[in-house]
Amino acid sequence: MKKILFAFVVLAFVLAACSPAATENPAQPASTEAPAQPAATDAPKPTEAPAVDPNTPVMGGTVIVGTPQEPGTLSPLLSSATIDDVINAFIVEGLVTMDGDGKYAPVLAEELPTASEDGLTVTYKLKKDIKFSNGDPFTCADVQFTYEAIVSDLSGASTSGYSDIEKIECPDDYTAVVTFAEVYAPFMRLFAFIVPKGAGDLTKLDTWEYNRAPIGTGPWMVSEWAAGDHITLVKNPNYREEGKPYLDSVIVKILPSRETGVQLLGTGEITVLWDLTEADIPTIEKLDGVGWSGALYGYGENELLVLNFGANDGSAPADPSKAPHFALSDLRVRQALQYGIDKQTIVDNLLGGNVKVGTTVLPAGQWACPQPASEYNVEKAKALLDEAGWVVGADGIREKDGIKLSLKISTTTGNQLREQTEQVLVEMLKEIGIDLVIDNVPSDVLFASWDSDGMRKKGRFDILLYTTGGGIDPDSHLFGNYHSARIPTAENEGAGNNYSRYINADVDALIDDAAFNPDQGARREAYCKAAEQINKDLPRIFLYERMVISGYREQLQNFRVSPGYADLTLDSQNWWLKP
């Protein structure tokens, strides 16, 4: 049965892929000659069809999700890569999640949790009659177990928030009362996944069978994992929504590359392709029967340049003014860089005009703080560099006191779009007399930790190119990336992401104020002021806004990319294939 259905689906794809090409143009001229007649005769046709609503979900079928990366584990307790969480979200659910609009929504909780007056007690009402895929009922004990698992010795999950929990009580099976030792304001983000108490012994967490085949309350469960090749998910027989999921199975297929994925999406061999870039959109739009869905992640992410204010010799100064960067410590040089980069050209040519140029650290969502786009002005750039004492040398490269204005730019190897962006930047900056030299490294080397002598943590770079942006609340991003307390140094063992070594007391104060101010309006204003000041000081240059994008065959109904981390699996129980 499954086989026939699959063959049918495949056939449908093939037909769909072929038919538009065959019927594209010939009809056009005929209709222009005699427009009225055919319209009249054609009109009754739809009603001749049997009275089945084409929008009634069709049961059965298989959706193949292609991904260039293989998940390492499906346990939310151990996941270390985005793909791990994206795939385990097919299976695992939490009490609260982020919905398609980026708002918190209850899943296994009856409603969003409420905090007590003093903020120390948070109460969850749990949904009743929910069963895990192994048949066990979901109760408050599972919430307790999840907490214990997260803070256990072998856990690989973040304990922030959980480490503030004093105890979890279960007055009855469907109420969980969480008591905090101190106030944890973003409590809403806790319990985004639930691990059933039957998962295993916490002292053997690393070797649980659960890690390869999680037991969850979601619509799917793992039936097969062929290492390096594919993971097959089948219906969870105990799923709470009657008659769902509509599909029989979802197969996660590991691909050699994103580009092979695009090809397979075109031929219909895969139904969904996870994680595209903006540059892939023109190709996707050319494919018949293929569409894409995108969302801004969290509060918006930017592809950006990180400019190093400190010396690039690995000394990692806590105060860059003590050991300044030979060129980038000068605001005029940074301004010249911003003036010398034609962001719109990058967006139009490399990204097919599908995204917006980067303007601010807070581009989207309820914290959005729109800022005017930066100006592209070669003359202003040149004037600023002249003023800063960098004069054009014999070879067209500027120099000062015998030092050439030669800057290294680094990003992750093997990312074609970033490599293209860099090469375009090289040409643009050559115009204003800056010699930009590309020095790319594998992503793990670029993002390496302080202890393993990571170049970014230790400040051994001039300019970095990568993507980052605000998450669920602007606090952690702004504090982590722009607050002077978060400059990685020997004292704080490299904690923090303020790689520019940017220090501005006003910005520090604004970020601190906003973190503790209960007035959301005032917080917003403070963040906006900080964003404005950041644009003046230019520790980073925002090139363009990034989206989370997936491509899919248009037969697939109810597919939508969401702004959360589990961007792919939203409503997968409602997916069905239109014949």
């Binding site: 580009e259 092979t260 050209t345 860099e422 090289v426 030299v437 790319n440 170049m455």
Partner: protein
């Protein structure tokens, strides 16, 4: 075998040198494919050296309005992902690719010869140790370790080296390909060590280094030349492979290898970007291999040269 000293004084080519060369040439030219190979290499070296005369374009100048254009009269190999003329990049890329090949080959030959000579000449525990080291290097899965070394090298911050430098990759390739030469040279040295002219030189009180370089080295030159040629071909292939995997020379400096690094992304829409750089590697490598084959036939007296 004292050819060089005599000719230094006389300023003429000796009869012996002349006849040696003649002998070589007579044998070499019988290998018609080797001649073809030599011609092709010569042409390519000239093309690459005089690149500016052969193209009106700049290898670095981008034209974002004309990205990934199919081959046409204007760009007869088409354009790449940033609108640069592919033919021009192939010409300039050839400079780097050949330089990587030559540098890596030189490193492996110098290193291999030194180890081989020392090992074969001194024998005993020196030989044992050096040959164990050689064995160790022969026993590591080369490509796998190349990747690990590539990761390592990329993590180093070498201020003396420009980011676009081809030295790191040449060193990595050279450092992992000297073992064949070392074994070859050692075997020949072992054979020669006990020959009369070497013993005579030692008996006359010549310094070890003098004996090695004046008497032994010229006699092991033939196998070295052959393995150098084949090593060059191998190094060019290795460069392309490493670049394909992302550990090659940094962009925008073109090499035939790094021009291929992103092509898997484009091979559906712009297959020419994948075809031409690979074709160049193929042509050069096959030409060098034929040259090496001809050299072996001509230089190795044990090798039977075909009669036409």
């Amino acid at each position: 075998m004292r050819i060089s000293t005599i000719s230094e004084f006389s300023g003429f080519r000796t009869l012996r040198e002349e006849s040696l060369f003649r002998f070589f040439w007579l044998r070499f030219r019988k290998h018609s494919m080797a001649l073809v190979g030599t011609t092709i290499i010569t042409i390519i070296i000239f093309m690459v050296a005089f690149a500016p005369l052969l193209t009106p374009y700049d290898a670095f100048k981008q034209d974002l309005k004309h990205r990934l254009q199919a081959p046409s009269a204007e760009h007869w190999m088409g354009t790449d992902d940033l609108g640069r003329d592919l033919w021009t990049r192939i010409l300039y890329g050839g400079r780097i690719s050949l330089s990587v090949g030559l540098t890596a080959m030189a490193i492996s030959i110098i290193f291999g010869s030194l180890i081989g000579l020392t090992s074969g000449y001194y024998g005993g525990w020196v030989d044992s140790i050096l040959m164990r080291i050689t064995e160790i290097f022969l026993s590591i899965p080369r490509l796998f370790v190349l990747i690990a070394m590539g990761m390592f090298l990329r993590s180093l911050d070498l201020p003396s080296l420009q980011a676009g430098s081809f030295l790191p990759i040449s060193i990595v390739i050279g450092a992992l390909s000297w073992m064949g030469t070392a074994r070859l040279v050692r075997a020949s040295t072992l054979e020669l060590r006990d020959r009369e002219f070497v013993q005579a030189s030692r008996a006359l009180g010549a310094h070890d280094a003098r004996t090695l370089f004046q008497h032994i080295f010229p006699n092991v030159a033939s196998p070295i030349i052959v393995s150098a040629t084949l090593g060059l071909a191998g190094a060019i292939i290795s460069e392309s492979g490493l670049s394909y995997l992302g550990f090659g020379v940094q962009l925008p400096t073109p090499t035939w290898g790094n021009m291929l690094s992103n092509t898997q992304n484009q091979m559906l829409t712009a297959p020419w970007t994948a075809i031409f750089p690979g074709l160049m590697i193929f042509i050069v490598v096959i030409a060098i291999n034929y040259l090496g084959d001809g050299l072996r036939d001509a230089l190795d007296p044990r090798h039977i040269v075909g009669k036409k």
